[in-house]
């Protein structure tokens, strides 16, 4: 009951909702880029001479995943401002 009241009182103040959304998005980005790093490091361990190719692909994929996370952060920001 208490928790419900706290959550309901958040409705006029969308700052908390935006902040929670952005935090969850950052968590998703962390997990995603961590998986990319894991795959890249394992691939380098298997085949060290492919280092440059793997590094380029890792950076490209990380930027794509971060783009998706930043969508969510922008929406959280908009929830705060608008």
């Amino acid at each position: 009951m208490d928790l419900l009241m706290v959550l309901l009182s958040e409705v006029p103040n969308a700052n908390a909702g935006g902040a929670i959304g952005a935090g969850l998005a950052a968590m998703g980005a962390g997990i995603g880029v961590g998986q990319i790093g894991k795959g890249a490091v394992e691939a380098i361990a298997r085949q060290p001479e492919a280092l440059n190719d793997i590094r380029n692909n890792m950076i490209l994929t990380a930027a794509l995943v971060e783009g998706a996370a930043l969508f969510a952060i922008i929406v959280g920001f908009l929830a705060m401002v608008l």
């Binding site: 103040n13 380029n56 950076i59 930043l70 969508f71």
Partner: protein, 417 residues
């Protein structure tokens, strides 16, 4: 009669655990009673205070630190380059700025042009126009003007009637040289100067028949990187046609990202309007290089059962628009987020100093160390975002003119990216 208890009832298990905790049943009962009475009597919802009402007076007196104002003052566009504020002995805030030209067009009043220093940072109106500040917006709100509907924000120029009130009947278009425009022009000037000079040298033969000299050494690895790692793998034989555009977009984004990191400069690539135009131009280039095969694959993805096609076709049509949209948002969000992080870390010092001066000094050590670390990351992000924008544009252009597959096992390529 033997009753075999196969399944031990819960309370006995619970009692066993409590015995491990060395608390008897009666004490548990009393503790539970006290805890429940606390919950019942003393839980009330604490609503966060709405502090939108507290507005800091500015210019006249020393005000408490308003972090929102500082952050938005750095992120948004402005009519001057603002470096710092000097708080004089009498407590008045004196900003140190470079004023920029203000050029306004109003259908009712015609063209007007003057330097933004005439506004004295929003304190004085000039020639029937006034510069809005937080303070003034608050005043207008108190007078009953619907500031949200009128779209007022700090830094907007509004027309005034003869007696100094806002004139809602006059529309004004602000086409002044704001700091984003001036920084873009500076970046373009720098790029044109450097790149044209090395182009002249290459045409003369220096760096072609002999080793490159001077600035050629700086730019040749970058240009060959874009050509060999971005253009050639994605565009195949037709890379030369697109290389000027890819190089332009790469250097423009890179130089503006790096300029944006200098304290006091404008946040060009973190402005949605700039990235919107970059994304739109990329979109137009992608559309103009698409062929029938590309659209055929979108309208009729090959090798899919009918049910999947029904879902996939709208997704593919949407993806034509979402890919450049992602380019726009990615660059914008990365740059804005980076700037906000740096400003927030520095603002932490002043927020803590507002509570206690020694807390401020203590925070400054960690905050500055962290800020330097984030600054290095932002330099890396500047390069990476320029590379990613260019690379993804090249990838999308390559996908657009891919041509028919000649391979035997035609495995369908569903939604790409």
């Amino acid at each position: 009669m033997r009753v075999k208890l196969v399944f031990y009832p819960h309370p006995l298990i619970f009692a066993a655990n409590l015995k491990n905790l060395m608390i008897g049943g009666r004490v548990t009962f009393i503790l539970a009673l006290i805890f429940s009475s606390f919950l019942a009597c003393f839980s009330n919802t604490a609503l966060a205070a709405d502090d939108k009402e507290q507005k800091d007076g500015e210019g006249g007196k020393k005000s408490s630190f308003n972090a929102t104002e500082v952050i938005f003052g750095h992120i948004l566009d402005a009519h001057e380059f603002h470096f710092l504020d000097i708080i004089g002995k009498d407590g008045r805030k004196k900003p140190v700025t470079i004023p920029l030209p203000v050029i306004l067009y109003s259908p009712e009043r015609g063209f007007t042009a003057f330097m933004s220093s005439r506004f004295h940072h929003g304190h004085t109106p000039y020639r029937g126009y006034a510069l809005l500040t937080e303070h003034k917006i608050h005043e207008l709100h108190k007078e009953g003007v619907d500031v949200k509907k009128a779209g007022f924000f700090p830094g907007k120029i509004i027309p005034l009637t003869a007696d100094g009130k806002w004139d809602p009947n006059v529309s004004v278009y602000d086409i002044s040289l704001t700091r984003n425009v001036v920084q873009m022009l500076l970046a373009l000037g720098l790029l044109v100067w450097i790149l044209l000079s090395i182009a002249k040298r290459y045409r003369r033969g220096e760096g072609v028949h002999s080793a490159p000299k001077g600035v050629q050494n700086l730019l040749e690895p970058v240009i060959t990187f874009v050509r060999d790692e971005v253009a050639k793998p994605n565009l195949g034989r037709r890379y030369e046609k697109y290389l000027p555009y890819l190089l332009t977009v790469f250097f423009f984004i890179l130089v503006n990202n790096i300029f944006g990191l200098i304290p006091g400069s404008a946040n060009v690539t973190g402005n949605i309007a700039v990235t919107l135009v970059l994304g739109l131009i990329s979109f137009v280039v992608i559309l103009f290089s698409s062929n029938k095969h590309y659209w055929g694959h979108i309208i009729n993805p090959p090798g899919m059962p009918v049910g999947v096609k029904a879902i996939l076709i709208p997704v593919e049509i949407l993806s034509v628009f979402i890919k450049p949209f992602a380019l726009i948002i990615r660059l914008f969000a990365n740059m804005v987020a980076g700037h906000i992080i740096i400003i927030c870390l520095i603002s932490l010092i002043f927020i803590f100093a507002g509570l206690n001066v020694y807390a401020g000094w203590g925070t400054s050590v960690f905050s500055i160390a962290f800020t330097i670390f984030i600054y290095f990351i932002e330099i890396l992000v500047a390069f990476i975002q320029a590379f990613i924008f260019t690379m993804l544009t090249a990838v999308f252009i390559g996908q657009a003119f891919e041509g028919s597959h000649d391979d035997v096992d035609h495995h369908a390529d569903p939604v790409v990216v």
